[in-house]
Symmetry: C3
């Protein structure tokens, strides 16, 4: 399975052009569009979002991930193998939270991609470089690159959980980079000076009331029953949250 | 064929996560995204929209439908078999218009889903419960539940056609829940105090003029040639329409 | 491979209904969503956009293209074979730029579609007429129509490159209908009285600065590093651009 995680948006030709390459090079591998609205220009928020979702995918899945504000610059293209899954994309921190949350931290492998296509556009490495490499890995070929050390110093600079809003969904719910299992269910979340109690799910609170809950990916999420939390609490991606002391 | 009909939107990870489950559990069954912008929080409007579209899908298709404002509440998960097709989703009326329009009303079967996954999130039954059940049905397994009576009393409370706007599309056209075959082509539609004549299609009227026509799903639809009916007539989902007497 | 290029948008049931037909009639052919937000009501802008993208698809690909403001009018449905690829859609100029850019201009074939389905809706030829024909061609059947002359007189009226903005993407970048290879890299683009220099890619200029570059499809594209060119330069599809004399 090849899993796409990008900030390309659902409009435009970019996703289709990338899928055309995958279809030509790995025709028997199914492709899943996990997200195409990952936080643009924000590899850190995208990293914590991705890390919350990888566990449900089978081993040998290939994650083709492009949140790449530095395309065309000196950032390196990379591959990694983490907990029996493959990751392909820019070496800008996008996979660092996956490493932090990995079950098997000692078995992680990291490569710089040294393979280059005949034609490499300056702005669309997703189609020209990362998609062919993802297809090679899905086909069982050896990683077309050079093994390098896992960048542990960079990875350790990031927190285990990110106390920020990392994504606002179609319904106006605000995901944070904090795993709900880390907190006591009686602790309130503080955001913009307001205190939110925990509920199990939407129907546990009256219509129009705000709350936090453990979302389906295990993250702390801020929501309003039958309302939009982003508008109700004036929330944006990047806003800091905190937890009331126990 | 598994057919997806949800209000998840085209952004976010929800559709992809559901498809990942389908791909793992029913890898040889094609999946069609019919709609992911069904009217949110409005199972009745969604029900009439769905009912207008099922006939063109082959027998044994499995409709995986999630418009589910009551997720996590006491509403039951269900399966039904109607006119040789399968339906899986919340038992909140979403399939009631399909029942009303069924060719074979005596052969309908209805089940409460009693199967439960190892991990059932409070908020995402589409991924955790309905998708695995849809995969089982697509694989030819027996419905994993308990046969119950078709809720005919509830179903009969709803009209055969819904004289409301049930969907506004990308072009600004407004679909109603009324089958065009029920009306005389000389009858005008009344909406917001305005009277619209029927046309066969867009190019039958001058640019900028409003009209109603039988859309490609057999429903009465309000439109403006090369314009947006929603803006021109100030239309919203839920607005009532009526027909001028013959 | 069947490649979809439409103005249907990513919402609503239209794309799904068309794919259901393809899945039933050509079940073993992969389907790629190239674009569903081609410029609506503007077959000329759509034509230059399509022409820039066909070369990367394999021979025998079938392009199913619907930008069709005249659906239901007298415009004819057509098929063409250009450079070993198939094209199906309305005969409104949508494929004329593909013809202009063809490598083998003498080998082009053109047909009027004479096949008709049992049920042809007035407004949705994409589902009822063009999708079945695309499936027939993908299955290797003979073109179900009548060979006609290539409309060279109409095609020659259009310029080789279109000095207009033809598409604004998710990031706010503005594509033009001009192939970058036609211009000197020192020439500035003039748009709305402003002069833009060329850069290789985004990271070549400071954040917030505008420039033009050769995009991944070989077209001149106007952009702002880490900003939105459409807002920064007040750009809309259809706006004229020009090039400073050498």
């Amino acid at each position: 399975m090849i899993v796409l995680f990008t900030d390309f948006g659902t409009t435009g030709p970019y996703v289709g052009q990338m899928k055309s390459v995958l279809c030509q090079r790995a025709p028997s591998t199914p492709v899943i569009d996990l997200m195409h609205d990952a936080p643009a220009f924000d590899p850190q928020a995208a990293a914590y979002l991705l890390a919350a979702m990888v566990a449900e995918f089978p081993s040998e899945s290939v994650f083709l991930c492009v949140v790449d504000p530095g395309v065309g610059s000196q950032r390196k293209p990379m591959m990694a193998r983490i907990d029996s899954r493959w990751f392909v994309g820019p070496d800008n921190g996008l996979f660092d939270a996956v490493v932090q949350h990995a079950l098997d931290q000692t078995g992680i492998e990291w490569w710089e991609i040294t393979w280059r296509p005949e034609r490499l556009s300056a702005s669309f490495h997703g189609r020209d470089l990362f998609a062919p490499v993802a297809a090679m890995l899905a086909n069982g070929e050896a990683p077309p690159g050079r093994a390098v050390d896992v960048p542990l110093d960079r990875i350790r600079e990031w927190p285990g959980d990110l106390e920020k809003i990392i994504y606002i969904d179609h319904f106006g719910n605000a995901m944070t980079g904090v795993r709900a299992s880390r907190f006591d269910s009686r602790q309130k979340v503080i955001v913009g000076g307001q205190y939110l109690c925990r509920a199990s799910t939407f129907s546990d609170v009256p219509a129009g009331q705000g709350f936090w809950y453990e979302n389906s990916n295990g993250l702390v999420e801020l929501a309003v029953n039958q309302g939009r939390a982003d508008e109700f609490f004036q929330l944006n991606v990047g806003d800091a949250i905190s937890f009331q002391a126990r």
